[in-house]
Every structure is written in structure tokens, then in C-alpha cells.
Amino acid sequence: MPHATALHFAPPRLSLRFLAVWRRNFLVWKKLALPSIVGNLADPVIYMLGLGYGLGLLVPEVEGVSYIAFLAGGTLAYSTMNAATFEALYSGFSRMHVQKTWEAIMNAPIALDDIVAAELVWAASKSCLAGVAILAVIAAFGFTASPLALAAIPVVFLTGLCFAALGLIMTALAPSYDFFMYYFTLFITPMTLLSGVFFPQGQLPDSVQLIASALPLSHAVSLIRPLLLGQVPAQIGLHLGVLALITVLAFWLALGLTRRRLLK
């Protein structure tokens, strides 16, 4: 029915009511805040230190800085991506499908649009909270010393929004948790390797470079790494613009798919 489809994909109708739903997720997180942060922190920090010191012996300098300082910015970017993605996929799916939390909320005067918006902002918030913790570790180890690093925090939040929006598309389509494996294997993992997290994109073959530089994580890395190194990123507008545009379009699509799934 083209009529119903048009309605499902109508523009989002946003309101501040999303805050009540955001707060619900925040209150749950607060109960287990420490383990949650440590969980989001441990993996990237271990990789950063392990690869940074290990490979750092073989690779004395990358783009004029120590390998571990190079790796720090990439680590912050990809761990933000992972945290936002996990929250939007696994936690979002359990609230939507398993626990029926969204259904319960929709019986109150809150629209599905507000709920999906809340999930988007919440996943970004949670990834940002983890990001700040990682940034603190990076600063504590002395891999960044510039006050510009603080400017990475809003970029981390935007990165979180972008990957939360992409993740919510998958959540809207998923029949079960197993589905998310494909998303990680086919999208997230290759992107992590191609986006200049572990090595400069200049090392990639030319044809791959073109695609790789268009990936959302590449834009995040292009912003976050220079900021941690105390430099103003090149082409700030372009990178911010792409992340923002992907966020808007992906959220719109995710919302349309979610409406189609739940408002039958």
C-alpha cells in the first residue's frame, strides 16, 4: 500500500518528550555505570597499549608522531563507533523486541518517533561517556597534551550519533540478535581496518583509498586524531557535514523502518 509506506517514511516528528525516555536509559545505566564504563574502556585501551608499544618498536614514527600517539586518536574514534553501535543494536533490540519496553512506553503519551530519537541520543551519550573515559586514559598516559583534545568530545558525540543512527536501521530490520553478526562482519570490522585507525589510509591501494575515505569512520578519525595531536583538522566543515548528514538520513530511514515494523 503506497499510502501506508508514504506515512511510515514521513519526516520525523521530534519533541522534547524524548527526554523522559532518554532518562529511563540513563537511570538504568547509572545503576551499573562503573562496570559499563570499564567494559567499554578495557578492550580499546588494551589494544591501544598492546599495539602501540608492541608495533611501536617496529614503527618508530607515523606521520611525524610516535605510533602510539597516532593510534590514540584512531582508538577513540573506533571505540566510540563500537559503543554506539552495540547500544543501538543489542540494547536497543532488547528494549524494542525482547523486553517490550517501547511498547509499554507507547501506551503513555509518547510517540514512537520520540522513542527512536531517545535511543539515538542515548546511544550517542553512552558512547560519549565511554569516550571521555578513554580520553582521560589517553591523557593520563601522556599521548595527548593539547587543550584542543577537549574539542574532540563533541566530535565523539557526533560520531556516536552517526553510528547509533546506522545501527538503528539494523535494529529495525533484525529478526533476532544473530542478524547483528552480519553487520559487524560485513560493515563495522572492514570499516575499522580501512578508516585509518591502525595505519594511515595512504598505505591502501589508490582505488580502495577512494572508497575508504568516504566511510563515516574515516571522517571521524580525520577530525579526532588531529585534535588529540593538538592540530586543527583539515576540512572540518566537510567531515562534520558528512557525519551530520549520515546521521540525519540514517535516522530518518531507521525511524521509517521502525514505524513500519511496530505501527502495523
Binding site: 529511563r24 517490550k100 501506551n107 503519551p109 505501527l263 502495523k264
Partner: protein, 314 residues
Amino acid sequence: MPLEISGLVKRFGTGPDAREVVRGLDLKLERGECFALLGPNGAGKTTTLRCALGLAEASVGSIRLCGLPVPAQAREARARVGVVPQTDSLDPDFTCAENLVVFAGYFGIPERDIRPRVPELLAFAGLEGKENARIQSLSGGMKRRLTLARALVNKPELLILDEPTTGLDPQARHLIWERLRRLTAEGTTILLTTHFMDEAERLAHRLAILDTGRILAQGSPREVIAAHIEPQVVEVFGDWTGEGAASGAAAWAARHAEALSRRCEISGETAFCYTDDAAPLLAHLAHQPGLRTLHRPANLEDVFLKLTGRELRD
């Protein structure tokens, strides 16, 4: 009017796969009444409620909830409605009290206003002192009662309950019935669905029997019984050993039921004879060796089975 549904049609799917699940349903709730929607599995009860709340889009028809048009202003209307959904959707990450406080937050009720009401709401649901209990530690009946308390955080004018007592023990059912009566006495309008005829007969001022998306009968329990079924029922069962036959009630019914009752239905080993005057039938049965009988007035379940048939659904 708390709820007004006219000409509701709801289809799922499109093209050749389309299924019409609600097929032209009209429903008007009066303020302060308790209305029960009865129907076999798959009749369309939950779908009707979802449409009424603006959570599913009607294919055809118009709906007004608390005077507001649905779906256009469904969200505003829901602010004045409480809902107990068919499946529990309590928040497992929160305690009982937190469930109420957080849910009130969805209505824009600040914590300082709801906190003082929590003990009263829990007491209403027979959950005194359970403020800090985790949801996983509650029994099914406790969860259902907490869901009822949750539906009351916004002091609703209309309370919609989808099978509120399914799966509950008699104690819990009686508590819920008593609370629902108290709410209607205080002026709350109630719309509930149920599979229990006794529940509808006890609670509902009016009821509708729904099957395959259509209302088959509507009115007060007495009216529905009077309009749709003979007033007396004689259930006949046991081993019939009269007239040289050695078989069950069905064999007896095949020979005699038609002459002695208006209508007779066989279900398993029992013959249900419906009649305006049971005296001749009972007199006959007194001389039939082996058969046992139960004579009773017709009830809602008889109407339900007559209208919706005795075959299994789903």
C-alpha cells in the same frame, strides 16, 4: 464519551495476502461503565484496542478516544488513558517503585509528585512494602497487579485492560475484580477483554461478543443471555443403559433430545439441551438408567459457545 469507534476495519498485509482481522466494528463506551469485550483467540480484541489507542492504524473507520480524534490526536488522548497490555512489559531493570516513577515520567509527572503516591498505588495492587523488590522476583500475579498500578499513575479517566486476569490464581483474580469495581465506583470508565465469562458477568455493565472481527451480540449480560439463548440448560452425561443401548449421552440425545428440548449440542461425552421449560425433559430423564443430569439456568458461556461455535481456534 470515553471511546467511540465506528465502522472500524483493520487489514493486515497487502494484495492477495491481506487479511481482514476487524470487519466493521462499532463500539460506544458510556462514561463510568465497565465494558467487556469477549471473543475467542484471534477474534481481534487486541487489534481493536491497539487501533483505539492509535498504536495501529485503522484501515477504515473513525475513532475518538476521550473525545479526541485518533490517530490525529492519539498521543494527547493517551495522556488520559491507562493501559494494561496483554503481555507484561514491566521494566526488568527497575524495582517496583522505580517502574511506577519512571512510567509516570512518560506522562510528564515529576518525581516529587509521584513518589508520595507510590505506597498508595502499590497498596491498591496488593503489593504493600514491595517498593524495592526486583521485577524478576515477582510472581506472575504480582507482575499483573503491578501493571495495573502502573496503568493508574496518571489517574486515567479510561482504563483499558487486555486480559487482566489470564494466568492468575483465584485469589489474585478476586483482588483485581474488587479493585476494578472500586475504580468504576469512583467514576473510572473501564474497557477490558477477557476469556472468562464469569469475569464479564461479574464486572461488566455491558459486553460485546466478538468473533472473526465482528460483534455478534452486545448488551448487558442479562440482555445478551435473554436475547440469544433459551433460559434453561440440562446437561446430560454418563453411560446410558436404557432401551437396550449401551452407550453414552450422545446416543440418548440422538433419539430423544429433539422432541424434549429446543436445541441440543453434543460436546465430548456431554449433551447440552437448551429449553424454555425443563420439566418434561427432567421427567423423562428420571427414568433413564445410567444417565446423570445437571439442570441450571443458561449463562454467558452458553451464549458464547452458541455464537462462536465449539471448535478450537488457532
